[in-house]
């Protein structure tokens, strides 16, 4: 699989987790999108650092070749999938722990 294919797999998994599997529904919440809007500039900045200095180097055969702030556009999808996956699990386990602490 190329990097392009695997980022879409990661995006699909993160969305399935949030919408279908643990049903946290963060994609429909203002808190999630506000958090993402805050994180995105930091992702662009740190990604620019890692890619423009060639700390991380991509094989051109495995990416589309479209770059934003020096980083492959795939990185944005990858970042979004990581953020959604982590936050979805965070909210899910927060709910579970709360239920255990205060049983209905």
């Amino acid at each position: 699989m190329t990097y392009t294919e695997i980022v879409f797999l990661a995006l699909g998994l993160a969305m399935a987790l949030d919408l279908l599997i643990i049903k946290t529904g963060l994609l429909g919440r203002k808190t999630f999108w506000t958090s993402y809007a805050i994180i995105l500039p930091f992702q662009l900045l740190t990604n620019w650092w890692l890619t423009s200095r060639e700390i991380v180097m991509y094989n051109s055969k495995d990416i589309l070749g479209v770059r934003i702030a020096s980083a492959p556009i795939e990185d944005l999808i990858y970042g979004f999938a990581l953020i959604l996956g982590v936050l979805s699990l965070w909210v899910h386990y927060g709910k579970r722990q709360r239920k255990k602490t205060f049983p209905a």
């Binding site: 930091f42 200095r53 700390i55 180097m57 982590v86 927060g94 709910k95 709360r98």
Partner: protein, 112 residues
């Protein structure tokens, strides 16, 4: 001065500095919830690091040996890459909790 080898570590330190102040200023209380942190960051970390190991093995991407400190973990991934999947998810969680502190009327879904 061999500052070059701190290129990747520098990015991680920046991420910590840019986010961990929320722990003290906005009292987001993320770091004390160790179990929940582990439950949230381990599954994505395992997914992404597995893919990372395969990609490096297949030469899909690589790390500049001169810009990492030179400590390598399993699958020949630099220690920075492992730290990335701890530091970045923590920064992400702290951001969500900070937004929650400021916008208390917005529901996240894990409230009582």
């Amino acid at each position: 001065m061999y500052v070059e080898k701190y290129g990747y570590v520098g990015m991680l330190v920046f991420t910590v500095l840019a986010s961990f102040w929320l722990e003290f200023v906005l009292k987001v209380q993320v770091l004390r919830r160790i179990k929940r942190i582990a439950q949230s960051i381990l599954p994505p970390a395992i997914f992404f690091l597995t893919w990372d190991a395969i990609a490096v093995h297949r030469n899909q991407w690589s790390f500049d040996a001169d810009q990492v400190v030179g400590i390598y973990g399993p699958f020949h991934l630099p220690v920075e890459e492992y730290l990335f999947f701890i530091v970045v998810p923590l920064a992400v969680i702290m951001t969500l909790e900070a937004v929650r502190r400021v916008k208390i009327q917005w529901r996240v879904g894990d409230e009582e």
